[in-house]
Symmetry: C2
Subunit: 229 residues, 2 copies
């Protein structure tokens, strides 16, 4: 995943580099990109519960008041993060491929991005999109694709929400441990479940999460495809 923002956060233009004070690491040049990248890094390291404005200021080596010169609130940082992550979701297929293939490419890309940032799913799944231009651009591209293919307009949002719900839930599954369905000492009392788990294991799939995602996604694409006029 290319990240221009990460690159920007890790380098200082030579002229702008602040003079180093003894015993203190140099403060990063503070802007919204730097703040977004640092916030993402903080969530990755400490989980969402470790993400406070005070902790964010500490990792940037600035006073909280300096942070508030660039963002109004923690909520604004979350919107910046949402928008940053969504910018990596690939919607380009809606311009070049059939509707089926475009939905497929978009959904796999979307799951890929969020499977690397599951601690943010509970927040982003319910975050209003009004101030997130890249997120809105994604929804515009997907909505336009659904409209062009003759999908009933009053159901476009419901279809997108259903797909997103499936994608968010599936992103967690990517991170599930391999033994999640081991019935352990209760195998004897769960014969149908235990046998189904064994039948899956016997296939030796490289990624059971991919198999489940593909199965569900193809059912959604076929079912929604049938609604087109």
């Amino acid at each position: 995943m290319p990240s221009a923002t990460s690159a920007a956060a890790d380098s200082h233009p030579a002229g702008a580099r602040p003079r180093r004070r003894a015993g203190r690491p140099p403060a990063a040049v503070l802007d919204q990109d730097t703040i977004t990248t640092a916030a993402l890094r903080l969530v990755r390291k400490s989980g969402y519960e470790g993400f406070t404005m005070a902790a964010l200021a500490r990792t940037l080596n600035v006073a909280p008041s300096a942070l508030y010169n660039h963002v109004a609130s923690k909520r604004e940082v979350l919107v910046l993060i949402q928008d940053h992550l969504t910018s990596f979701v690939d919607v380009s297929a809606f311009d070049t491929e059939s509707w089926d293939q475009a939905v497929r490419d978009w959904a796999w890309s979307y799951r890929e991005v969020f499977s690397k940032h599951t601690p943010l799913i509970p927040v982003i799944a319910v975050l209003p999109v009004a101030d997130a231009p890249k997120t809105l651009a994604m929804y515009e591209a997907v909505s336009a694709g659904f409209r062009r293919t003759g999908f009933p307009q009053e159901r476009i949002i419901s279809a997108i929400v259903a797909l997103e719900s499936f994608i968010f839930g599936s992103a967690y599954d990517v991170t599930a441990p391999a033994d999640i369905f081991d019935s352990g000492s209760m195998a004897a009392s769960t014969p149908n479940f235990t046998s189904a788990v064994e039948r899956l294991a016997r296939q030796g799939l490289e990624s059971p999460a991919d198999a489940a995602f593909s199965l569900g996604l193809e059912a959604l694409i076929a079912g929604f495809g049938a609604l087109r006029r």
Copy 2:
């Protein structure tokens, strides 16, 4: 949602009631049910980030060491919570209804339970089921239903995982604010999305979340149904 455990936690059998020490609320009778109920209440009040064994001991008015007489770890409490919540998910239709209707009833019931406990989804979505007898009983009932209807055995687990992923993601959507898709000042640059949001709003649905869930669930049921032999 009936809860025998809650009732147990809120009352003391007259004879067992501990004598009240001045300035200190009475300690609850400590067992796994009491601990489970208190842990659920704590997560509801403080979010998952507020759920520590120390905080749990405080809400029960016991020393952490007393807690560890009944549960080995925070992980064990999470398994107890998972099992408690899953026990409210209704799988009875797999015994009485057609496969389609049974999947439908199960999925709506499952989403209902978890939409009230979204802070636990990130944990429960990746928690192994080995020590959770009620959770295993749910999977057994669902697996048996899929098997009886002629669903390919090697794909039963993938189908259940896909449905669960959709259900977990949809549980978040139940709690989303009504203005989540308001495009605000960017309406002009997102005409297809904004128009789709308006077309949905014009329908005056009581619950847009229910509409999205129903749309996705019916597509999954139809798609999976077609795989039966």
